[in-house]
């Protein structure tokens, strides 16, 4: 069954529906018009016939008087055609009393104005009538039945119904086929944008061979995507190159320090050299984080390389690692992990996400404080604490690169931890937020709502 949502979101389905509706509407309109025309033509013909009949009667009255007219009326009634529209007459005085004819009662119709109207006869047949005043005390009414028109109208309606249904069917079938073909061509473009792998790009570059607007769009999209890919690759190559160029001299510098460390007998110098080595290591770590952020951002929405990951098992393992150090540092660490929470993801990156959040919490919460980790299906991960929290003015910036909070200037780090968290979350179609909380900080990671 076609779902309503699918129709609402597909322009082609909407066009087909519109075409079906229009075909039905036009057919209905044509039937209405035909019906009205038939009725009107028939009415005019009846009117002409009745006027002719009435004129004949008036002539007879003029030449032969009322008795002649009455006898002619009886003749006419006796000679009714069996298969035509039977005629009925009433010759009456001013009070409506019958002198001749087969209509029992004078209907509500004015003879002095030569009125014409529709009446129902005694035998329940419908008839068109016209009356006229022949003399001061004499009136004539002529009525012609028209019962066979209904049959004709019914036949016309039936013809239009069948024709309309066939038209709707033809439009629906043709429209569906055209829409299906168009939709599949557009879908190949959309698929390439969703997952721009080599096969998809090659399909776009080939085009459909139709040389129409969509074919042009297909080729343009293919070119644009290929260019984007090249740019991304070039960007990646550049950052790799820069990273290499920075790391190599750092390594040499570190090696020199190692040599100096080995040569010096002085413990104070040795400790300074050791500090310098620590700083080199933190620069390297910062470079790595920046590269990881860039890599995660570049692969946002790319499902390539994702594998099923059991978040519950991972979180439990990480919690185990942190539980001991929490105990040592005088923190309370509470965990609530729902089993069987799974996600398609990059295991190491997700581990990094959870670790960074926990690191952050334990770094900023003073001894005696509590850190909570909650994992629920969805997946929803909440890492919260009862520490000093994040000042209001920093909320907007906290996930940006190098946004080292002012809340604990002495806390080490380049301010990349949460930026990396966000990049990893977005790579997995997750959204990381700093949720409002009464006390402390509360970070939530949940599926994107947009």
């Amino acid at each position: 069954m076609i779902r309503l949502g699918a129709i609402r979101h597909s322009i082609f389905a909407q066009i087909v529906l519109w075409a079906i509706f229009t075909a039905a509407e036009i057919t209905f309109g044509l039937w209405m018009l035909t019906d009205a025309t038939i009725q009107r033509t028939n009415h005019l013909a009846l009117e002409r016939a009745i006027d002719l009949d009435l004129a004949g009667m008036v002539d007879i009255y003029a030449s032969g008087g009322a008795e002649q007219l009455a006898s002619r009326i009886e003749d006419r009634l006796a000679l009714q055609p069996r298969n035509g529209n039977s005629a009925h007459y009433l010759l009456a005085d001013a009070n409506g009393n019958r002198i001749a004819g087969d209509i029992g009662k004078w209907p509500k119709i004015k003879a002095d104005a030569s009125e014409a109207t529709e009446i129902e006869l005694d035998n329940a047949a419908k008839a068109f009538v016209r009356a006229t005043e022949l003399g001061p005390n004499l009136r004539l009414l002529v009525a012609h039945e028209h019962h066979d028109l209904d049959v004709l109208l019914r036949q016309v309606a039936l013809a239009f119904l069948i024709g309309g249904m066939l038209a709707v069917l033809a439009v629906a079938l043709g429209g569906w086929m055209a829409a299906h073909r168009l939709a599949s061509r557009i879908e190949s473009i959309n698929a390439a944008f969703r997952q721009p792998d080599d096969a998809a790009l090659e399909r776009l570059a080939r085009g459909s061979g139709d040389r129409d607007e969509i074919d042009e769009l297909t080729r343009h999209s293919g070119n644009a995507l290929a260019q984007l890919k090249q740019l991304a690759a070039a960007h990646r190559a550049t950052t790799d190159h820069v990273a290499h160029e920075i790391r190599t001299p750092l390594m040499h510098l570190d090696n020199r320090l190692v040599k100096a460390l080995a040569a010096t007998p002085d413990s104070e110098t040795a400790s300074r050299i050791a500090d310098a080595r620590t700083e080199i290591r933190s620069i390297t770590r910062m470079l790595e984080s920046l590269l990881d952020i860039a890599a995660s951002e570049a692969r946002r929405g790319d499902r390539h390389g994702l594998a099923p990951v059991d978040l519950s098992v991972m979180a439990a393992r990480l919690c185990e690692l942190y539980a001991d150090s929490a105990e040592e540092s005088g923190h309370t660490f509470k965990r609530d992990i729902e089993p069987g929470v799974r996600i398609e993801g990059e295991e190491m990156a997700l581990m990094r996400l959870i670790t960074n959040l926990l690191d952050n919490a334990f770094k900023f919460v003073p001894a005696g404080g509590t850190v909570w980790l909650v994992l629920r299906k969805g997946p929803t991960l909440i890492v919260s604490d009862d520490g000093p929290g994040v000042p209001e003015e920093q909320h907007a910036k906290i996930f940006e690169k190098f946004s080292r909070g002012k809340r604990h200037p002495e806390a080490e780090g380049a301010g990349l931890g949460l930026a990396l968290c966000r990049a990893i979350a977005e790579r997995h179609h997750l959204e990381i937020r700093l949720a409002p909380s009464e006390k402390g900080a509360c970070f939530t990671v949940a599926p994107e709502t947009k």
């Binding site: 790799d240 990273a243 290499h244 790391r247 190599t248 750092l250 390594m251 040499h252 570190d254 090696n255 190692v258 050791a274 080595r277 080199i280 390297t284 770590r285 470079l287 790595e288 590269l291 990881d292 890599a295 692969r299 390389g305 393992r317 185990e320 690692l321 942190y322 001991d324 150090s325 040592e328 540092s329 990059e346 190491m348 990156a349 581990m351 990094r352 670790t355 960074n356 926990l358 690191d359 334990f362 770094k363 080490e412 780090g413 931890g417």
Partner: protein, 228 residues
């Protein structure tokens, strides 16, 4: 343990000489190949304990060399070295058949420690049911630990850590190696979780004994002592 016979494929002469220097001190032999092709040739014709392979070489890509080596049936453990330190690069290198991956800049001690662990793993010394080192005993299946025949009561994680130290008895194990092999993490958490866990293990190994069990090598890592 006699010194390792190492092939080092690297275009950076300074990095190569630094490793060679350190290897001299530790009794290992380093054969240096400055290009990918030269390295590929030597790896195919000579016998080495381990191969260090730089990922970015001027003539051949490290991943290509690795796949050619594996195709031609050379099973020598390979440690890939690279300035590309991203998680995805690491995964790519390991997927291509590298046995370990180390990002530049690295410390020569870290490199040699890892090479030793690689070699040990490859030569199958780690698969016995009971590992003995000095005064320590590790029963892998029963997951029990002893020092001087006295049972040590360890938590499951502490046992994993202990077992890893036992498998590498007497060798320096770096933080990175511990994180990777015990906690399966290829990055270093910002907090001192590793040190805390080592500290707890150390207390359990040393409680009631006079001689130390775990030595902290400042700036490098940790080493299990024989405890005698």
């Amino acid at each position: 343990m006699s010194g390792l016979n190492i092939l080092y494929i690297e275009d950076d002469a300074r990095a190569a000489s630094r490793v060679q220097e350190l290897a001299l001190q530790t009794g290992d032999t380093v054969t240096w190949a400055a290009t990918g092709n030269a390295g590929l040739m030597r790896a195919g014709t000579e016998c080495f304990d381990v191969i260090i392979l730089d990922r970015m070489l001027p003539d051949l890509d490290g991943l290509t060399i690795l796949s050619r080596l594996r195709e031609s049936g050379v099973g020598t453990p390979v440690l890939m070295l690279s300035a590309l330190g991203r998680t995805s690069d690491r995964a790519e290198g390991l997927d291509a058949g590298a046995d370990d991956y180390l990002a530049k800049p690295f410390e020569a001690e870290e490199l040699l420690a890892r090479l030793r662990a690689l070699h040990r793993r490859a030569s199958g010394r780690t698969h016995s049911a009971v590992i003995l080192y000095g005064a320590f005993e590790c029963h892998v299946k029963a997951r029990t630990a002893f020092r001087n025949n006295r049972h040590l009561s360890l938590s499951p994680k502490e046992f994993d850590l202990f077992r890893y130290f036992m498998e590498n008895g007497g060798e320096v194990l770096t933080r990175e190696m511990l994180l990777r092999d015990v906690w399966k993490m290829d990055f270093d958490p910002q907090t001192n979780v590793v040190d805390v866990n080592i500290g707890r293990l150390r207390r359990k190994l040393e409680e009631g004994f006079d001689r130390p069990a775990l030595e902290t090598i400042w700036g490098s890592g940790y080493r299990l002592l024989d405890g005698q």
